[in-house]
């Protein structure tokens, strides 16, 4: 066993879409290059290594486990702890209101490793910076904000109230930055719906950032068609596209933004990993050197 800690990134993956795991691999590679961990391992619900077997592939005695998921809920509270065999887990250990989970330290029943189980990447405060960075990337304007509206889009589901909480949390935080003229949280499956995006903005230019980890069916097909960027996603669309007199700058999944690697590190750092140098390096390299939060 290696005495230096390892990082395991737990993501959903897909049986159908090869690109689902691509952001996980990309962020893992970015973090691996910093040398901050003895190992960086990707693990998936739908791909391999599976959650069930990931820890036995990791040599380290101590593991930081970061879920690359958007919100707290079924996956972070039930599936990941169960499949990683985190003995003694109880969601109460996070003492979270739905967006405030930090970490809990447990022992893996499979391997005996010490696992610092972190809250999901999507609810970390620095995720707000990634959303802003995404807006910068898609407009190719580092000063984007004035004259622009920002829509943070989530899936939304009546089965899990935390799903919407994460979206609203970041919309509130970014609104508090006074950077964009308007900020709204919109959803696919509940009100207010992304279909009516132009109803919610007075700004002529609107950046739309879906809070999804990977580009796939929803971000590449559903949302562009629902917003009226195109009749059929296969026809493609321009960025920006004019919809009802608004220029819609559609950003695609926020999880593909390189700065996401920083959020994963911040999660591990909050759980006690010594990562100051690695975080500075990643922020410098992936466009987040000057945190948009300013705090």
């Amino acid at each position: 066993m290696n005495p230096d800690p390892a990082l395991v990134i737990a993501a959903h993956g897909s049986h159908l879409n090869a690109e689902s795991s691509s952001p996980t691999f990309a962020h893992a590679d970015t973090i691996r290059a910093t040398g901050a961990f003895s190992e960086v391992r990707e693990a998936f619900w739908k791909e391999e290594p599976s959650f069930r077997e990931a820890l036995r592939t990791v040599d380290a005695e101590e593991v930081y486990l970061v879920p690359l998921f958007i919100s707290e809920g079924y996956f972070t509270e039930q599936v990941i702890p169960r499949e990683f065999r985190l003995d003694g887990w109880d969601p109460e250990m996070w003492d979270s209101d739905g967006t405030s989970a930090t970490h809990a330290t447990l022992t893996a029943g499979d391997t005996g490793q010490t696992v610092h189980y972190c809250g999901p990447a999507g609810t970390h405060d620095s995720m707000s910076d990634v959303i802003v960075q995404r807006a910068k990337s898609v407009t190719d304007d580092p000063d984007v904000g004035e004259g622009f509206g920002l829509a943070v889009v989530g899936h939304g589901t009546e089965r899990n109230e935390n799903s919407a909480k994460a979206i609203e949390y970041h919309a509130d935080r970014i609104r508090g930055m006074d950077r964009f003229d308007e900020v709204e949280a919109l959803f696919m499956d509940e009100d207010p719906e992304v279909d009516d995006v132009t109803d919610y903005f007075e700004s002529e230019d609107v950046v739309v950032v879906p809070l999804f980890i990977a580009d796939g069916y929803h971000t590449q097909e559903d949302i562009p068609e629902d917003m009226g960027l195109c009749e059929d996603y296969r026809d493609g669309y321009d960025v920006p596209t004019d919809v009802d007199g608004h220029d819609i700058w559609y950003a695609g999944a926020v999880g593909t933004e390189p700065l996401m690697a920083d959020v994963i590190l911040e999660r591990a750092a909050d759980a006690g990993a010594d990562l100051d140098a690695a975080i500075a390096e990643i922020r410098d390299r992936t466009g987040g050197a000057n945190p948009a939060t300013g705090d």
Binding site: M1, N2, S14, H15, L16, N17, A18, F25, D29, W45, K46, E47, E48, P49, S50, R52, E53, A54, R56, T57, D59, Y74, Q78, V79, R82, D110
Partner: protein, 360 residues
């Protein structure tokens, strides 16, 4: 790690060394050095250094204790690759000089001695065994194996890493020992630690019933398929998904600890210790489909048409459709034959012989 092997040997000698035919001991500042090829007593340090300097037994010891990864499963796998448990040293070194090749699933791994007496590993697809290096795309970063494992030769996505559809046309000509295991892990995740656990008699197998019992969310429905009325349905699942033609893992899980499935688990080198996510996802679909009540449908087929339907199902189930020649009208699953059957027997709504699926 880049310490001189002889320095390392001298430093370790007080603890005694006995490895792969090499024995070194120290007593009262004098050393004993023995290999099957030579034996020396009462050496001073300078003599020991002189004897050890050119000994392949020393560079071999150094490789296995200072260069190769020391994690049990990685170390054991690398030893297994060169048959260290059952090949004598000379025989092994002769083989390594010319390249000692082992297969791991569809991987072909060739271990060779490098200039310093350590190891270098070449990795490629078993089907590319005889291809010239220049005919293959070369990689040196073991992480590139992740992308290689993602798609098959036709560009199709491979959700199951152990499906026997690993793409060809690539090679890693010279990986170090740690990198080799990393590349193997990228192609066949967790196979090395599970193989090692099995070898040590410690493989943890989670059987079907137990795996199904822990499912929640949309997969929780699979539990309803386990009604304590035998395991024929699980045999069908295993026959559909876990056959050697579909997955290179050897299925070790059974219905439960006391109840073996009726179908063979396959011959793969690496063990499968529980139903995977693809099997559970498929089982969820079958759980729903198997809840339907059978109906009686009446329609007429000629004997050849019935046989053709059977041939079509066989061809699709075996993934053979792409191999059927375009003009091979003699094959029941030929595309023109199938289109003719559809033209003759389907109505505008796609109903076989015009018989609706629901009788309401």
């Amino acid at each position: 790690m880049d310490e001189d092997p002889v320095d390392a040997l001298v430093a370790t000698a007080p603890d005694g060394i006995a490895f792969d035919g090499l024995t070194v001991d120290r007593e009262d500042d004098r050393y004993a050095f023995e290999t099957p090829a030579e034996s020396h007593d009462s050496l001073d340090e300078a003599d020991l250094r002189s004897v050890a300097a050119d000994s392949p037994y020393v560079s071999n010891w150094y490789f296995w204790h200072a260069v190769a990864p020391q994690t049990d499963h990685r170390w054991a796998f690398l030893r297994w690759l060169e048959g260290a448990d059952d090949r004598g040293f000379d025989d092994r070194y002769d083989a390594l000089a010319g390249g000692l090749t082992t297969e791991w699933g569809q991987l072909r791994i060739t271990a060779s001695l490098d200039e310093s007496g350590g190891r270098s590993y070449a990795l490629r697809h078993v089907d590319d065994a005889d291809d010239a290096d220049s005919a293959l795309e070369s990689y040196d970063d073991s992480l590139a194996a992740r992308d290689i494992a993602k798609h098959d030769d036709d560009g199709g996505y491979r959700p199951l890493k152990t499906a026997p559809s690993l793409q060809t046309g690539w090679q890693f000509p010279a990986l170090g020992p740690a990198e080799l295991v990393d590349a193997v892990h990228a192609v066949y995740p967790a196979t090395v630690p599970n193989w090692y656990r099995e070898r040590e008699g410690e493989l943890d197998v989670t059987h079907w019933h137990e795996t199904v019992e822990r499912q929640t969310g949309i997969y929780g429905v699979v539990k309803t398929w386990d009604r304590g009325d035998g395991h024929e349905h699980v045999d069908w699942v295993a026959e559909a998904c876990c056959d050697d033609s579909q997955c290179l893992k050897r299925r070790e899980w059974q219905y439960d600890e006391d109840t073996e499935l009726a179908v063979d688990g396959g011959d793969g080198a690496f063990p499968c210790r529980e139903p995977c996510s693809l099997v559970i996802t498929a089982a969820r679909k079958w759980t729903k489909l198997e809840a339907e009540e059978p109906q009686t449908y009446e329609f007429e087929l000629t004997p050849s048409e019935k046989e053709q339907v059977e041939e079509i199902i066989d061809a699709v189930a075996d993934g053979r459709t792409a191999d059927i020649r375009e003009a091979d009208i003699y094959d029941g699953a030929n595309r023109y034959r199938t289109r003719f059957l559809r033209a003759k027997l389907f109505d505008d709504d796609g109903n076989l012989c015009g018989v609706e699926t629901d009788d309401e």
